[in-house]
Amino acid sequence: MEKKHLLLTIVTPEHTVLSDKPVDLVTIPAVGGEMGILPGHASFVVQLKEGVMHYKEGVHKEVFSVLNGFAEIHKDKVLIMAEAAELAKEVNEERARQAYQKARETLAMHGADIDLDAAQAALKRAAVRIKLAEIRRKHKQ
């Protein structure tokens, strides 16, 4: 019998991370807990929380970080819509920490000319990255 695959698609508002990539196994951080998906899974729509997502393709394994989104599983197609998704190994914890500090300082200054929105956005991003780096560390141990 031919081996079945899942087709994985990850889209974020800023770009399409993966499009119809055949994989063997996907795990996603659902609100109710981690969820593993194999080919033949029932149709499902689920809300995601921030966390790590794995997929396995043969022996090759990849870890992604996702942030607040939704996943839809239908007919062996997995569609992930997240506000942000990054390859976990691309997240640099040290840089994230620095960015977090900088954003905090900018916000604390409260000057007239400071771009508060950008600082707030940077703060949010950095906080998520740090969280992801921590999650990744935990998973490695």
Binding site: V11, T12, P13, E14, H15, T16, A30, V31, G32, A42, S43, F44, V45, V46, Q47, F70, E72, H74, L79, M81, E83, A84, D115, D117, A118, Q120, A121, K124, R125
Partner: protein, 299 residues
């Protein structure tokens, strides 16, 4: 008549202005590529999101829907409340009639809603400054966002979305209108005046029940999911508006700067001609003087 030196000075100043406008044109041209691809990249997410909302609505029973929190976003509110305007302008000028047209559209909207209580969410420095200068209106800038262009990201749209939803849910806002420039082509922008909230029902009913009901399982419940999806739908819409406006601004700046460079070239040509004529006239007069002087001596 202007002296030679004056004309030379004028030419060099026009030349340096031309250098600046030309550089700005090149910068805009380089950025517009990225802005356009950002628009394209945001499309899959938005369309998938819309599809999921439709599907979800198709699965919902009418009773479930009216009980859910999501319904508040669709309900028409009774007229007479606060009007809310989201105005997306550029941060910087030098982009032709881009901002002027937007501000005109905003002013006519404000005129239409004269006498009403108006709350404004201003994106872009130009719009904010314009609204601040307005006097004699019952208007308040409830949220402002400046300096996001040309690096508008989804986070900005999200912050904006949070602010608007907070305003919408906490105070008796009748409707939220969005005014922005749409990127039509490199040469044309179109001003779009769109109602953002309450949401239009047709996003739900486009082609619901394409799939059979009961096929999906949901976690958490359907109405909770819908409630979580809708703010993101608004966020995606705002993100699109930001990106469109950003691309349109760059396109407008590019064409404005191109025509400015062209005008500067023409001006330089004209001035060079004038300078040469003046110089020739000077030489002729000098020659004339010399010849007539020698003739006076020789005769």
């Amino acid at each position: 008549m202007a002296s030679l030196r004056d004309i030379r000075k004028h030419i060099s100043s026009v030349k340096s202005i031309k250098q600046i406008t030309y550089a700005m044109k090149m910068v805009a041209a380089a950025r517009i590529k990225r802005a356009q691809s950002a628009i394209l990249a945001s499309r899959p997410f938005a369309s998938q999101m819309d599809r999921l909302i439709e599907d979800l609505y198709g699965e919902l029973e009418e009773g479930d829907f009216s009980a859910s929190a999501a319904k508040a976003l669709f309900d028409e509110r009774h007229p007479g409340g606060i009007m809310c305007l989201v105005l997306v302008t550029a941060d910087k000028g030098l982009c032709g009639s881009f901002n002027t047209n937007l501000l005109k559209a905003a002013a006519s909207w404000l005129r239409e809603n004269r006498g009403r209580k108006v709350r404004v969410v201003a994106v872009g420095r130009k719009g904010r400054d314009f609204l601040r200068r307005l006097k004699g209106l019952d208007m308040e800038i409830s949220h402002e966002m400046v300096g996001v262009f040309p690096k508008a990201g989804y986070v900005h749209a999200q912050l904006l979305c949070d602010a608007i939803l907070k305003l919408y849910l906490e105070s008796p806002v009748e409707s939220v209108t969005l005014i922005y420039n749409e990127f039509k082509s490199m040469l044309a922008q179109r001003i779009v005046t769109d109602r953002l909230l309450p949401l239009k029902r047709h996003i739900l009913e486009k082609n619901a029940c394409v799939r059979r009901a009961g096929e999906f399982s949901f976690e958490p419940g359907k109405s909770d999911l819908l409630g979580a999806l809708l703010p993101r739908h608004i966020g995606a819409q705002l993100y699109r508006a930001l990106l469109e406006s950003q691309a349109a601004e760059l396109a407008a700046r590019m064409s404005a700067m191109e025509s400015a460079s062209k005008n500067a070239s023409e001006l330089i040509d004209g001035l060079t001609l004038k300078m040469n004529k003046t110089r020739q006239a000077m030489i002729t007069t000098e020659l004339n003087e010399i010849v007539s002087g020698s003739e006076a001596l020789g005769s």
